[in-house]
């Protein structure tokens, strides 16, 4: 079977439509992950022991099982208990929860990396707990997290094809649909690969920039 440029031209608009959904799902998923991750992190670090332990277990469980199966679960099992989510929303929530567990780790490490002396200095200057978090801890903890978080954002982007399994018409699903009706896999699949490669090469440079920009503040 030969590569067919005419066919490529023909399917390009459809694929780009899919790419838009892919990007949308990534952005929404990232937002959900950022928030859920924070919830996980705070529960694990500050909640009473039983809740903290339960959260830890949930995080471990989510991280140890495939996103694909979790998506099936959200999409096909949750309606049995009356939660019926549209496909894209189910996908975004699945991505968000799954990657939220990774984000939680990043948050935790970022917060624990703020030296103990900073907490003590905040106390010695009589800041309240809230003020300490807002003005001293988070401003120092967040910048170093950014590269790690961006890394997961890119990983998540590359996992969006899973959403095709729950009928979201993202890039991969569009490609499959094209392949299905034209009996040609070479062009659509290769193009999907090329799209991902381009996006990820761009993101490599973006990441380098982030890493430089948010290099560690070198004072304790």
């Amino acid at each position: 079977m030969e590569w067919d440029w005419e066919f490529v031209r023909q399917i390009m608009p459809t694929l780009i439509e899919g790419l838009q959904i892919t990007i949308l799902a990534t952005i929404l998923g990232a937002a959900v992950a950022a928030v859920i991750g924070l919830v996980f992190a705070i529960l694990r670090m500050t909640a009473p022991a039983p809740i903290a332990r339960a959260t830890s277990f949930a995080v471990e469980f989510i991280r140890g099982t495939p996103l694909l199966v979790q998506l099936y679960f959200i999409f096909y099992v949750l309606p049995d208990i009356g939660i019926r989510l549209p496909a894209l929303l189910a996908g975004v929530i699945g991505l968000g929860i799954h990657y939220g567990t990774y984000a939680a780790e990043v948050y935790r490490a970022g917060i624990e990396n703020v030296p103990r002396g900073q907490w003590e200095a905040a106390k010695a200057t009589n800041l309240t707990a809230r003020q300490t978090w807002m003005h001293v801890i988070l401003p120092q903890a967040i910048p170093p997290m950014i590269p790690a978080l961006a890394n997961y954002l890119i990983a998540m982007f590359k996992e969006t094809p899973l959403l095709s399994a729950i009928t979201v018409l993202e890039l991969m699903n569009q490609a499959k649909s094209i392949a299905n009706s034209n009996y040609r896999y070479i062009e659509p699949m290769t193009l999907v690969g090329v799209f991902f490669l381009i996006m990820s090469l761009i993101s490599v440079f973006f990441l380098r920039w982030l890493e430089e920009r948010y290099a560690r503040v070198d004072e304790r």
């Binding site: 030296p115 003590e120 106390k123 010695a124 200057t125 009589n126 309240t128 003005h135 001293v136 004072e219």
Partner: protein
């Protein structure tokens, strides 16, 4: 005869099986300058951290400026204090750390103004005016806009002193404020401290291994060993005529290591 501003009454501090302070009692008069000396691990840092409420105590009572530090009265009974009470008490106390602990993401000026603005609701303009006075006092008015990372160790420590002073505490705690500094930077920090001791009537507690400075600075010297005060007195007496065997050994060692007494 005025009341003591700090009255420590038989306090005990344990870390697990380790007893670090073992029934310690002492009193400090308002305006007094105290030097705490003694071998490593004897509990000097611990007592300062307890006064700053960075640790809790296992037993005993501490009264600061007429109020219990770790306890509040409730229905006529003393019960452990809540965060609100601690917050109120901390207003009276400031601390300068061995490793400065400046906020690295804020410029020098913001380091000094942050707490007054947040905790006392001071207007920014007033806070900055006062901060500039303090920075001037420690000789760093021209560094107001620098970030901590751009300063030398001695400069950082002087900023830390200004930051603690900005809250106008009645009591200042200094924990080995020069021991993380390169030798040539020690003097600039000690000069600030001398000025402070001479010009203010703040109560000051100083942990140090600089015996010469302790001698000049302090009204009274406490010698700590293994969580107890072994000997106390005027600097001349402690340094020239120590009575206790342990004090003598300690001072001999310090002199052998090249410190001036």
């Amino acid at each position: 005869m005025p009341e003591p501003i700090i009255r420590i009454d038989n306090i005990v501090k344990r870390y697990g099986p380790l007893t670090v302070l073992d029934g310690l009692s002492m009193e400090v008069m308002p305006g007094e300058k105290l030097a705490l000396i003694g071998p490593s691990g004897s509990g000097k840092t611990t007592i300062l951290r307890i006064l700053m409420t960075l640790e809790t105590i296992s037993d005993g009572f501490i009264q600061v400026d007429g109020e219990q530090l770790y306890h509040v009265k409730k229905n006529g009974q003393l019960v452990p204090a809540d965060e609100r009470h601690l917050h109120k008490m901390r207003e009276k106390i400031g601390m300068v750390f061995q490793h400065f602990n400046l906020f690295p993401h804020k410029c020098v000026l913001d380091n000094v103004t942050l707490a007054p603005i947040l905790t006392k609701g001071m207007p920014r303009a007033a806070a900055e005016k006062r901060a500039m006075e303090l920075l001037d006092m420690v000789g760093l008015a021209d560094k107001a806009k620098s970030m901590p990372a751009q300063l030398s160790g001695g400069q950082k420590q002087r900023v830390a002193i200004a930051r603690a002073l900005a809250l106008s505490p009645k009591i200042m705690l200094f924990d080995e404020v020069t021991s993380a500094l390169d030798p040539e930077l020690v003097e600039e920090v000690l000069n600030v401290m001398r000025k402070l001791a001479a010009e203010t009537d703040m109560t000051m507690l100083l942990v140090t291994h600089e015996m010469g400075f302790a001698h000049d600075f302090a009204d009274r010297v406490l010698f700590f060993d293994r969580g107890k005060i072994v000997e106390e007195g005027k600097p001349e007496d402690i340094f020239r005529h120590p009575k206790q065997e342990r004090t003598q050994t300690f001072l001999r060692k310090i002199i052998a290591a090249g410190h001036r007494v």
